[in-house]
Every structure is written in C-alpha cells, then in structure tokens.
Amino acid sequence: MKQAAAPPDAQWSGPVHAGVKAPDPILLPDPALRFAATAQRLDKLAAGHPMDAWLRFMARLARAQHVVATTLGPATALSPAVVAQAAEARLPPLAADGHRREAIWQQGLALLLEYIDGSDLPLAAREAMEQLRRSEAATLDQLADDFLRGELAATDAGVVVYVAAALQVYFTCSAARLRIEGLRLLEQRALCPCCGSPSVSGLITATGVIPGTRYLYCSLCSTAWNHVRAMCITCGGTRQLFLQGIEGDPGVIKAETCGDCHTYVKLLYQQHDMQVDPYADDLASLGLDILVAEDGYGRHAPNPLLLMG
C-alpha cells in the first residue's frame, strides 16, 4: 500500500470455503428443536442408567416443554430500540431478573402440567403438580420471581422444577425472536448475552465453521455463546486448570476444574458423540458432579431442573 492511498477493506476476496473465519459469537435457540432434542437424548441416556427413573421423568418433562414451545403463541417480540439500548449498555435485553414477563408463561405452565401424565410418578412429584394447579396467578409469579432472583426457600426445590421448565420455554421462545445482529456478548463472558443467566454446560463442537469452539449453553433461554477454551469461566484463571473425567469412560464429558477459585464447569465433547445434548447430558452426568465435589470443587452454576439448597 502506498502512503496516503486508500486502505484495503480487509474483505476476504478468495473462495468462500477458504480463509480463516471467526466463530459465530452467539447462536439463538430454535424452540421447535431444543426440547425435542433433549427429550430424545434423555430417553437414550436413561437406558441402563442408575438414575433411569429420574431421567425418564426429565424426558417426559422435556417432551411436555416441546409441546408448549410448539403450540403456545409466542410472546411479543422486544422492540429493536430496547434491544439496541441494552446492547449499547452491555446488558442482556431479556434480563431474567428484570424482564417483565407476560402472563403467557402461566398458560405455558398450565399446558405443561396438563401434558405430563403423572399417573405413575412418585407421590411427591404428583403433589407438586397438584399444588401448582391450585395456585393462584400471583403465587405462581412470586415463585417465578424467587426462582429467577435466587431467593427461593429450600423447601420449594421440588415444585420449582415445573416452574423452571415453563420459564425455560417462555425465555427460549422469547430469545428465539431476537435478531442476532442486534446482540452483543456481555463483558462477563460467563453470562448469557440474551438473559444474563449462567450456563448449564459447555459444548466443544466438532462441526461448523470452526470445529473445537466452546459454546456455553444458557440454563434459562437456551442461547449458546462462544467462550474461549482452556480458561476458567468463573475467574478467568488459566494456571491451575485441569480436565477431569471418570476413569475408563468414553471421554464425552469432562469437568474443567480451576485450582484458583475451586469451581468447575462441565464440558461435552461432540467429537466423541455427535448426539450429545448440553441439557440432557448434564443431568445424566451427575456422577461426575459427585466425584468432583468430593475433590472440593463447587459447580459454576446449577441446572435449574436440579437445584440444591
């Protein structure tokens, strides 16, 4: 380039399949696939699993979520101005604890409870469903607020599973209606750029533009966002990071433990199993959580369907 000449526009002019590309920073969920995929995967994982009863129940819940996500009309989409304002301030546009939920989420919950066939479920699970059916709208909203703000009483750990499932559907459908061009990653890279919730697990891809990229999957709105690998998502530490797995397993799931802040996040390697699902496999790998917890590590954030006081 000559002095004072026009600068190159840095656009790749070679063949479209060549050149070094950057991974998509954000992947918005598809409500028509998200819950069906989780249900299918849970069914597969439940076979011969020590927790088969729980996983089959979770699969049933995911199938009910799928019905709600595909039959219920979507919530009103956020106006582009609101999204732009949030992106400008580096805040999540659908902030879980600040967003004004529309009443449609309660219709979703009612539909969810209606669709789950509870006849052969344990008594406690059926009672929790009955309790929710009888609750008034204000009570349900209070329960949802407490869940989203982390102020739930420990005795509600059972009931909240259905509420969390209905909120997952509501937020997933809302996130799916956002326009991806308007979104930005947050400065806190461990939080979802759509709703500001923590992730449920990380997926190391084996396909796509850049195989090997890590995507964190939102525990609430199912959005996936890119996060640098080999770095603790809690404290950003890199010095004392270990990938821990259960001896003799196929290596699909590893816990990335950080010796600096003593937390871990689960990573799923698509390379070893293309069917892996960030939500189903997280629930089914509770054994790894138990072993890593015994080593003194705390989990980055819980799965909303398995809360613990």
Binding site: V159, Q244, E247, G298
Partner: protein, 197 residues
C-alpha cells in the same frame, strides 16, 4: 440457605435428598447414582496454550498432558491440536504442525548441547557450561576483532557486522523486545527472528 441458580453448589450423595431430585420423590435415583460412581476415580489432564515452534505463521496450539504438576510427578504430553480460539489459525494446523506430538517424543530430539570441533567429523555431547563459555569466548573474540566504533566520516556507529543471530518463531512481543535489547546492545545489526521471515 436459599436456592440459588447463580452461585456455586456442591453435589454430594447426602445432599441429593434435599435437592429437586429428592424433593420430587426420586431419592432412590440419587442414591443409586452416588453408589454407582463410588468405585471410580477421576483422571486428570491439563490443557495448555502455546505457539507452534515451526514457522513464522506462529499458529496457536493446545497441548494436553497427563500427570499432576503439583505432585512433582513427570507430566507426559499426550496430544497436541490447533487452538480454535487463536485468530491466526482457528484450530487448523499444517501437516508439520499436526505432527508436533512426534517432535516432542522423537528419540532423536536435541536434549543437550552438542559440539563438533573445527575439522571434526562427529558431534559429541557437552555441558551447558562448556557450550555457553565457548559461545561467549568466540563472540567476544570476534567482536573485539571486528567491532566498528566509528565510520569513515568519524561518526560513532558502534556496529558489529560479522556475527548474526536468528531467534525463534514462537516469539511474543516481549521476547522480541528482549532479543532486541540483548543483541543490539552488543552492536549486532544482523539479526532477526523466524517469526518475521
């Protein structure tokens, strides 16, 4: 303690009874899971970022090693792959880079300084002390003999043009800065690093 969905939680076999799983009547599943993992141990691997040693492109790599660094055990490199987060190569590697693991474990890999005297036919292993003393001696002799303090016009130039140096490809900006400071202070002008070739 309130139920949180943001803070760290610890799963233990006992605490599962008070979790969502236990509260909905699936306590047996939790107990079965805790019992099922009891006989198993955890494996540990480390994932480390580095730069490929080969050429000036300086691709990012991820190096996996087994062994616990904290427990004084020898760690063993088990796998090397392209770093998907590195803007230069985004996870890709050339055939040479893909074979880095074999370089690490090559039996012919250079581990100690070797020396072949002028007129000699074979290399022999020497100590680091010997090698560094010898290099320093030869550099000093050459610099004393060929150093140019002033040019023909009498301007101070402080040049040493008879010896050159080529630094490695895996150079960060800081390494390059140090290379410059160390070598340029001797008056050396013929030097570069492989990362710029």
């Amino acid at each position: 303690m309130p139920l949180t969905r943001r803070e760290f939680i610890k799963f233990t076999g006992l605490a599962l009874a008070a979790s969502s799983l236990g509260m909905l009547g699936f306590g047996e599943s939790g107990e079965a899971q805790a019992a099922a993992v009891r006989p198993f141990k955890l494996t540990r691997a480390t994932e480390t970022r580095n730069t490929c040693t080969y050429c000036s492109v300086a691709c990012g790599i991820l190096i996996y090693s087994m062994g616990d660094r904290a427990k004084n055990a020898r760690s063993n490199i088990i796998h090397i792959e392209g770093d998907p987060d590195h803007p230069v190569n985004r996870g890709t590697l050339c055939p040479k880079g893909s074979a880095l693991l074999d370089v690490v474990h090559a039996p012919t890999r250079l581990r100690v300084p070797r020396y072949r005297p002028p007129g000699g036919t074979e290399f022999k292993d020497v100590s680091w002390d010997y090698a560094l003393d010898r290099i320093a001696r030869l550099m000093k002799d050459d610099r004393d003999k060929n150093f140019i303090a002033k040019n023909a016009a009498g301007t101070t130039v402080n040049r040493w043009t008879t010896v050159g140096m080529l630094a490695a490809s895996a150079s960060s900006s800081e390494t390059s800065y140090l290379t410059w400071k160390a070598v340029r202070s001797l008056g050396m002008v013929v030097f570069d690093n492989q990362a710029r070739v």
